[in-house]
């Protein structure tokens, strides 16, 4: 592929890669380093990229692997203990009692970001790649290096945990709003 065209197409993804990096690292400075490092590796191996194939999937795969490498270099656990424990535990959570009365669409962006950040890493990544980036299950399996069944299970668990967290947040607001605001309190 023509290097200038490759550079242009790759750099067009910087916003998306930074957003995903921010979700992985949960820290702006680390996310910037991660994205910069991702581009360095991408340019280095650009010869291996075949024009006309999936550049976005290729860049996200490099982002994923670079993230794991950086974390290893920084002496953190290679496995997200958090995710592993959750993955092995039975999914025995109870959904909220009256979910249909909650209006999730009123969720504030800051709450949604905080709830996403609260997910175990493997779930956070799977939900992000699916619902924000709209990658297929196969593409996510390729990016994260796990089987498709695991991808679907992570998306499912992640979405449900996200919902529970948002319901809890929404309930907190309603309680704080107090008895004076009946219309809001009734949703709890």
């Amino acid at each position: 592929m023509d290097p200038a065209a490759f550079e242009q197409d790759a750099l067009a993804l910087v916003d998306r890669l930074f957003a995903a990096a921010l979700r992985l690292t949960r820290n702006e400075a680390d996310a910037q380093d991660l994205v910069q490092d991702t581009y360095l590796r991408a340019f280095r191996s650009s010869g291996q990229f075949e024009a006309g194939t999936n550049l976005r999937g290729w860049m996200f795969t490099i982002l994923h692997n670079t993230f794991l490498n950086q974390r290893r270099d920084r002496g953190r656990s290679p496995i997200d203990a958090d995710s592993e424990a959750v993955e092995q535990a039975p999914d025995d959570r109870q959904a909220a009692a009256n979910p249909e009365e909650l209006l999730l669409r009123e969720t504030m962006d800051a709450d949604l970001q905080a709830a996403l950040n609260g997910l175990p890493e493997a779930y956070r990544e799977a939900v992000w790649l699916r619902d924000v980036e709209q990658f297929s299950y196969e593409e996510i399996a390729g990016i994260a290096g796990v089987p498709i069944g695991t991808v679907m299970s992570r998306i499912s668990r992640g979405r449900r945990a996200l919902y529970d967290d948002l319901v809890t947040r929404s309930g907190d607001y309603a309680r704080r709003a107090g008895a004076g605001d009946e219309s809001r309190a009734r949703r709890v």
Binding site: Q32, D73, D109
Partner: protein, 253 residues
């Protein structure tokens, strides 16, 4: 009727409208009978819908300058610009040799010589200098011992910070790991009055060639100390650069 476990595995493709018609029918049949799975599906669909709707807001924009820094990595990635031991040019050899002789003669624990970093390296370091001062300066200052311990614990960078700079009016205001070639450069941020001064410590084995040093109005001076290359970078006249390098432990030759 299917067990909840069988249905659980089909929940995501059904929520995503990607399941085969037969699977969809199985799941829908089960959901009519099973309140627990019904609630799970409701949760999954609601969360999915919310994230899909907010996707554009969630992605937002990368910070100013990140795109330019990413574009700059292309030059860094070009094969010619990244030999394994970077840029010890032919002109640099006699210097290195002289340094070895100094070491042999003096028998000192470390040796120093002043060399000038290449323009390409200085440009990268200058961009990093500007970024790090805008994002990571600690106005209250930091203790050298604290920064030294953090670099070792967080990044495995084991260096001894120079003891001299405080006496020369240089205050430590930050320390982090930054990117240079294969990573792992220690970046120390100092203030001397209004002047922002960066001290970069390159990985063991990384050396620099001798070329021009002025980039974007900044100057860089490199020296070796304890087997590593150290680079001082600031917007300051050359004489002051040399004075600061001495304060950081360089021995002029």
């Amino acid at each position: 009727m299917d067990s909840c476990r069988d249905i659980d595995a089909l929940m995501t493709p059904v929520a995503d409208n990607e399941a085969a018609a037969a699977d969809r029918a199985r799941v829908e049949g089960h959901l009519r009978e099973c309140a627990s799975c019904h609630r799970q599906m409701h949760a999954e669909r609601e969360a999915r819908q919310l994230v899909l709707e907010r996707a554009a807001t969630l992605v937002g924009h990368a910070p100013l300058g990140l795109r330019a820094r990413c574009a700059a990595t292309r030059a860094q990635a070009a094969p010619a610009a990244r030999p394994r031991l970077p840029l010890l040019s032919r002109a640099g050899w006699p210097m290195a040799l002289a340094a070895t002789l100094v070491l042999a003669v003096a028998g000192a624990a470390f040796y120093s010589l002043v060399i000038n970093p290449s323009k390409a390296v200085a440009a990268q370091l200058t961009l990093d200098h500007l970024k790090c001062f805008s994002l990571f300066e600690e106005p209250a200052g930091l203790s050298p011992a604290e920064v030294q311990a953090a670099l070792k614990a967080r990044h495995g960078i084991d260096i001894v910070l120079p003891a001299g700079p405080e006496a020369s009016g240089l205050t430590l205001v930050g320390g982090r790991r930054c990117l240079y070639l294969d990573g792992s450069v220690a970046h120390l941020l100092y203030r001397k009055g209004a002047t922002r001064v960066s001290l970069f410590v390159l990985p063991t084995g990384a050396k620099l060639s001798q070329t021009d040093v002025d980039v974007l109005g900044h100057s860089a001076v490199a020296f070796t100390r304890g087997g590593r290359t150290w680079v001082v970078l600031a917007r300051a006249p050359h004489a002051e650069m040399k004075a600061m390098a001495s304060a950081f432990g360089a021995v002029a030759n």
